[in-house]
Symmetry: C2
Subunit: 273 residues, 2 copies
């Protein structure tokens, strides 16, 4: 089976430089890479674009912009730079995480996100990069993301053109949602699915919930079911593996990619899924 749709998010090989990640992904026969901005900035944006393209890889997404909830700084400058970087890299999607809350006013923080998203939309259209709103798991609402469900992300995207704002389906963040099937269907019908990201939910959770993401198959997520919903919603884009996990980060990068490929074939791209 082809690995053309499989993308290595650089967070999964967190100790690697962009160059190492590009070489690792290319050697394993992956179709794409999803770099984080810090790795791109270390290597230089122009150099990164060349490195990725020379290796025969596509860029699935650039991670990440967003936040946009601060009271004193609207965060627009940095996000315009992120859109510039995405455009130069040839990343069709810029993943954005919106949050957390600077005070107890969660509703006010969400209003600021909506307002500032609207400010960024014309710039995103101009650059030809879509803003991919990523709902994060509700346990991150205080410190990281005030968008907690796919339904909420879709509602926030709705006023804007489909080419300007999409949504990310990340299994770790949304697998628990009783409305997930319907929301994925809606996202597909509206042409709003920007990215499908996979990783597992570990039990018990790690002490740092941010690092509780696991390799597919190591946790309790039913990838066959969610993958079928994403497929039925018409999504044919990249499947990005983004794992924040201390043990994965400590392991050899090539081995991590090897396991990732194996699990992808077994759980994500299996016939009958």
């Amino acid at each position: 089976m082809s690995l053309e749709r499989l993308s290595l998010n650089t967070k999964t090989v967190n100790n690697w430089t962009l160059k190492e990640a590009v070489e690792g992904a290319a050697q394993a026969g992956l179709g794409a890479i999803g770099p984080w901005r810090d790795r791109v900035q270390e290597a230089g944006v122009t150099e990164s674009a060349k490195m990725i393209s020379d290796a025969g890889l596509r860029v699935s997404t650039l991670c990440r912009g967003g936040f946009l909830t601060a009271i004193d700084d609207d965060g627009l400058d940095d996000n315009r730079r992120a859109l510039d970087e995405a455009a130069e890299l040839g990343a069709p999607e810029l993943v954005m995480v919106m949050g957390g809350i600077p005070d107890r006013d969660l509703i006010g923080a969400r209003v600021r996100v909506s307002d500032r998203l609207a400010d960024l939309v014309p710039y995103a259209l101009e650059r030809g990069v879509r803003i991919a709103l990523e709902p994060l798991h509700p346990m991150f609402v205080a410190d990281r993301a005030v968008i907690s469900t796919l339904g909420q992300a879709l509602a926030m995207a709705e006023p804007h053109p489909v080419e300007a704002v999409g949504v990310v389906v990340d299994t770790f963040h949304v697998w628990w949602d009783p409305d997930l099937e319907a929301q994925i269907k809606t996202a597909g019908e509206r042409g709003r699915i920007s990215s499908y990201q996979v990783c597992d939910w570990l039990v018990p959770m790690e002490a740092d919930p941010l690092l509780s993401r696991g390799m597919m198959g190591d946790g309790v997520i039913d990838f066959a079911t969610i993958g079928r919903w994403v497929e039925e919603a018409g999504y044919r884009g990249d499947v990005e593996v983004e794992i924040f996990n201390a043990a994965v980060w400590a392991a050899d990068g090539d081995q991590v990619i090897g396991t990732m490929v194996e699990r992808y074939r077994e759980l994500i791209d299996a016939p009958g899924n």
Copy 2:
């Protein structure tokens, strides 16, 4: 201001016996107590009922029954016993937590909960005790609760009489939900609010997320806003304080109740809220 609606959940004073909790609550002038089953069973159900009533307290809820997701054991016997205990205690509501998942089939686990809930409803009606479905925060879906939102709990309650199945609004579990205002309104309109439980969301989270509940005011939840929604939904029942937190448990019980009363007056029952 009266403390008639304030209820001490025994989990908040986890190291106390039921007798100590009853005396502490009565001395502080609280109107009610919300005992856990283990404390009641230690003291004996008949003796607990007498102890609470002699102290001039009401029982707000009995905590807790539920689970009902196991594949080999339907759990109905233990839940019927819990309904018996609630009836004998004079608890109008039996809090139920439904979950977690014994395998990767989250949807199947939810179906088992619905089926077994239906099995329990006639018994609850016979005993005059309402089953209070408590949605838990989505971070507990794997190991503890497959009902994650108030909307989902309401949908599960809907086929059953209002006297048989209600829902719990626990700030810690639902504060993040973008649909919370609408769901509380619906719950109120349908007469389904069984209990309003308060505690705060601490930042950063504790390493054990179960113990990350904090005293009101120690975290980031906007109690004025959520309390107003609950009030506007017509709820006039008890406000139960249920805190799982190692530091609170290590503190002197009377001091914990003292702080709880102070924070209740300041944040929950304040004029203008």
